[in-house]
């Protein structure tokens, strides 16, 4: 497709290599071993995740990507404790996960803000649940709201905010309880392209400045490469780890890198893994539909070229 001669996505500059060496020397924050998840159905149990194994280091940014039906959401919901795994173990700081808890913050695609609470009360919710007094919760919530730049809106209700603002509140709410890991399930999927780009930069800024590990699900390849240290690529039916890619694009990230050779090489590799040439593509003669001309020859606008 491209005429550029791309380097291998495995090639890393000196700077990137040494960063990954340091990263892997950090303590392991999340360890998933032998994770299986089956759902009952009328035709017997359906396997959604099969023998998943991977490690995430402290303050790492991991993106999870894969074709639809690969169990990305099931994985993140299991990590959050919202689904119970059939087999295997999830360890956070060496502690087995058992049910949902405030040590794992979660941001959903659908915002899930409490519509009856103002922005500030939404952020205070988790703080109050984890035993802080109203006064403390209030003060801490203000700090988090300030961090996501919504101080002017702290007394607004969610329905008065735009999608991007809602998602910033959701991030502040999830971070306020100071979880060890932030689980994000396609959080920017419902946003328009511009807002999405802005939100990605916000998120990188936040990640840089606080002690948080992020596991981020997306189906947007550019988003995954732009944000992640490493990308976990899953395979569908059943969901298995296909590859754990170390992104060779150096930090700090900026929009100018979207067309850099490392970026494009990584993207080409992801395309290969996620959209392999299939029967469907072959039958349709490449990317073309089987069309017949449906405009009359003597029409005033008979050609578009």
């Amino acid at each position: 497709m491209t005429h550029l001669e791309l380097p291998s996505y495995l090639e890393q500059s000196e700077q990137v290599r040494s960063r990954f060496e340091k990263l892997k020397a950090r303590p392991v924050l999340l360890k998933v071993s032998g994770l299986c998840k089956e759902f009952p159905s009328n035709d017997g149990p359906v396997s959604a995740l099969k023998d998943l194994n991977f490690k995430t280091y402290r303050r790492e940014f991991v993106c999870v990507i894969g074709p639809s039906g690969c169990g990305k959401s099931t994985l993140i919901r299991t990590l959050a404790g919202l689904e119970k795994q059939t087999q295997g173990e999830v360890l956070i700081d060496g502690q087995a996960v058992n049910g949902p808890g405030p040590d794992r913050g979660m941001v959903f695609q659908g915002y899930t803000l409490f519509p009856w609470l103002t922005v500030k009360r939404n952020v205070m919710f988790g703080l109050e649940m984890t035993g802080r007094s109203k006064g403390e919760a209030d003060a801490e919530a203000r700090q988090w709201i300030d961090l996501v730049g919504l101080t002017k809106f702290e007394n607004s209700y969610p329905h008065q905010l735009s999608g991007g603002m809602k998602q910033r509140v959701a991030i502040a709410r999830a971070l306020a309880t100071q979880p060890r890991i932030l689980l994000m399930d396609e959080p920017f999927g419902a946003l328009d392209a511009q807002t999405r780009a802005k939100m990605q930069n916000y998120l990188l800024d936040i990640w840089k400045n606080i002690d948080i590990t992020i596991l981020f699900i997306t189906h947007d390849l550019d988003e995954a490469i732009y944000l992640a240290d490493r990308i976990l690529v899953l395979k569908a039916h059943p969901g298995e780890v296909q590859e754990l890619i170390e992104v060779p694009v150096p930090h700090p990230r900026h929009a100018g890198q979207l067309l850099s050779p490392e970026f494009l090489a990584t993207k080409a590799r992801l395309e290969e893994l996620i959209h392999p040439p299939s029967e469907d593509n072959v039958r349709l003669n490449g990317d073309h539909l089987n069309m017949v001309r449906m405009v009359s020859i003597d029409d005033a606008v008979s050609e578009v070229y």
Binding site: M106, F114, F125
Partner: protein
Amino acid sequence: MQDQWLTVNQELTLRQRRLLTLGSFLLPLAIWCMLSYVPFIWHPMVEVEDKGSVSYFKESMLVEKELFYQELEKAQGEERAVPTGTPANPIYLPAPHEVIEALYSAFTTEPIRRNEQWLHESLADSISVILLGFLLSSLIGVPLGILAGTFSAVSRLTEPFIEFFRYLPAPAFGALAVAILGIHEAPKIAIIFIGTFFQQVLVVANTTRKLDPALLEAAMTLGAKRISMLFRVVIPGIASDLYRDMRILLGWAWTYLIVAEMIGSSSGITWFITQQARYKNFDNVFAAILIIGVIGLTTDMILAQLGKRLFPWQRGTKV
């Protein structure tokens, strides 16, 4: 821009909405006026003015049109004095102005017998029966409904029986209620309770189940446990829908009022209506029915306004 009246699925302007609201009341009123004031529409009776030679006619007596003209023709044929009269409606359909007069006079007319109640006293009785019945039902029904909607175990334990019980018509318990509770207020309140409670539990449970499960999941990831989930997420989350349910249920409670008030010693507005019908004061009957409608509509409008204040976060979505 010209107002569009019939665009699919589009809200009208404020002016249009007000006009149509007014119209929805004026239209039935116009029909009623036509039936009452235009002599050639309907008017199946004739009010006798001069009985002429017909021996059994009396002045201001209502006779059926057919009979009147029969007698008239007979008198003409035999060259006797002819009866005269004007077209009239049956006694059970008073004209609008008569009902409007009755709306005032019903309150100012002294009861015929000394032990009878004034209209406002009857109304106060009715309202207190409704409120007590509804309050009692809500005190038990709402918490039970919320629990059933939240916990499957409570739902499985209660709902099948309630589902069965709600098909038993509340009035059927009238005699039983009187036997147990006596003839005064208590059995009437019991009928309102039976009529409301079982529906209420099911409606509230359904409303509770409709709460977005993603909100519950979000709360769990933020550290909420069972009790705090119930009081900090479920209840505030359904409060506005619950409020709307209660408004509808209160409307249903009114429909049970008439039945309830006929049980034991007849009382309240129903007693007033049956009594006035017995005296053939149908203008008073219509007035009393209108008053019930006005009370119902006004309460609902006040509650709707109050709801907007109670749930400011609902603005923008339809309540």
